[in-house]
Symmetry: C2
Subunit: 212 residues, 2 copies
DNA sequence: TTGTCAATTGAACAGGCGTTCAGGACAGAT
DNA sequence: ATCTGTCCTGAACGCCTGTTCAATTGACAA
């Protein structure tokens, strides 16, 4: 039936549980139950709940990392997260990520940093091919865009409620269904604030370089 | 010293604890300890931990709701969350909100809906005064903008790490310090995607209305 | 002074938690 | 057939959890 090794089954069950209820809200016995093993076996394989959590972090990060880049189509232009959404091995991983982004795992933080670096890279590419407007603070721009995308995933429950779009699924898989989100994003990223307003706010917040 | 009623002290301590470690990660005794009372008194005043959590939800929502609108300056144009950041009674409330946005409280979801409605309203105002570009899907645009702003708050840890900006504090209080974030936002919201790219993606995702 | 009522404590409870451990089951090597 | 080692279980451990409750305090009314 299930030819995964017990260790892998436990790990996957833990990822699902953690994604559903958070780490603190999940007991070792729940995980064992979902994996169809005893609580003792969980300890045998991972030593402690905390170790198991670290193993989950690493596995999720590794999986996403390995499948990243395989889906950097045109959609990636406005959505740095599309790459991991498209092929992260299903919703559980994404939902796990969404949870873990908030309560702070070093492995996931590292993954975020990599997403930012990737974003910087292909935004630069987009600039040279004329798809994206240039900027004189590309790094900051990529960071904010990446975190906005990740934030939408973290708040997927609210996106679902307000817009009916499932941010844990590949947006390009069913374009019609994800249109409300994508269209709004395009609206915002092609000109939400007028140039005059921008100049006003730029002065108010300083233009980045010290001018004094 | 502390002239708050014990009930209020417990509630405030709970908000801090929940903001720090999440609801599941906080024990009643911890809360009692921080409030300087016994665990029994917590139960006496709130009946159960779950009731206490609901009381926190309601108090945070009520506080934010009451102080909202007092700070709808020009900053609100690109930041629907600025109003609650500016005067929500300090970081604890915002951090509590950030936590609760993820593990789903009905009261907080309601609050999000209100923020969206507010955003729709003053974006419309911005359009009439020429500060903001018009859109033919104002609702969706306001939703996404609001969730992006909230997402940045939820991921404040990462914003801090990558950009050095504290999203739990009022951005307008120290413009120089929050400049990296604000400047990037302005970059993105005044034209990130070129018009040609937009047309390309609009076709790919359908333009909202059925055309067939 | 006595009575009343709310605020508050600390001990106690049952149950769940993470973790440990002795031992069973079963494979492959000798 | 016996040994060896790994996988795995179920019972047990001590601790911590949320919750209950009798008892104490202190303020205010009669």
């Amino acid at each position: 039936m299930d030819d995964r090794t017990a260790r892998a089954r436990i790990r996957d069950a833990a990822i699902e549980c953690f994604a559903d209820s958070g780490v603190a809200g999940t007991s070792v016995r729940e995980i064992a139950g979902r994996a169809g093993v005893s609580a003792g076996l969980v300890m045998h394989h991972f030593g402690s709940k905390d170790n198991l959590r670290v193993a989950c972090d690493e596995h999720v990060a590794a999986t996403i990392r390995s499948q990243k880049g395989s889906a950097m189509g045109q959609g990636a232009a406005f959505d740095p997260v599309s790459s991991l959404r498209a092929s992260a091995g299903g919703p559980p991983l994404i939902r796990y990520l969404a949870r873990t982004l908030v309560d702070g795992s070093p492995h996931v933080a590292e993954l975020v940093d990599e997403l930012v670096e990737d974003a910087i890279e292909y935004i630069e590419l987009g600039v040279t091919t004329g798809l994206i407007m240039p900027s004189d603070r590309p790094r900051e721009r990529a960071i904010v865009l990446t975190l906005w995308s990740l934030g939408s995933v973290v708040l997927h429950e609210h996106v679902e409620r307000l817009l009916g779009v499932d941010m844990t699924a590949d947006l390009t898989a069913d374009p019609k269904r994800s249109a409300p989100y994508v269209q709004a994003v395009l609206d915002l990223l092609t000109g939400f604030i007028t140039p005059t307003t921008r100049e006003l706010l730029t002065q108010a917040f300083g233009d980045g370089q010290e001018t004094r």
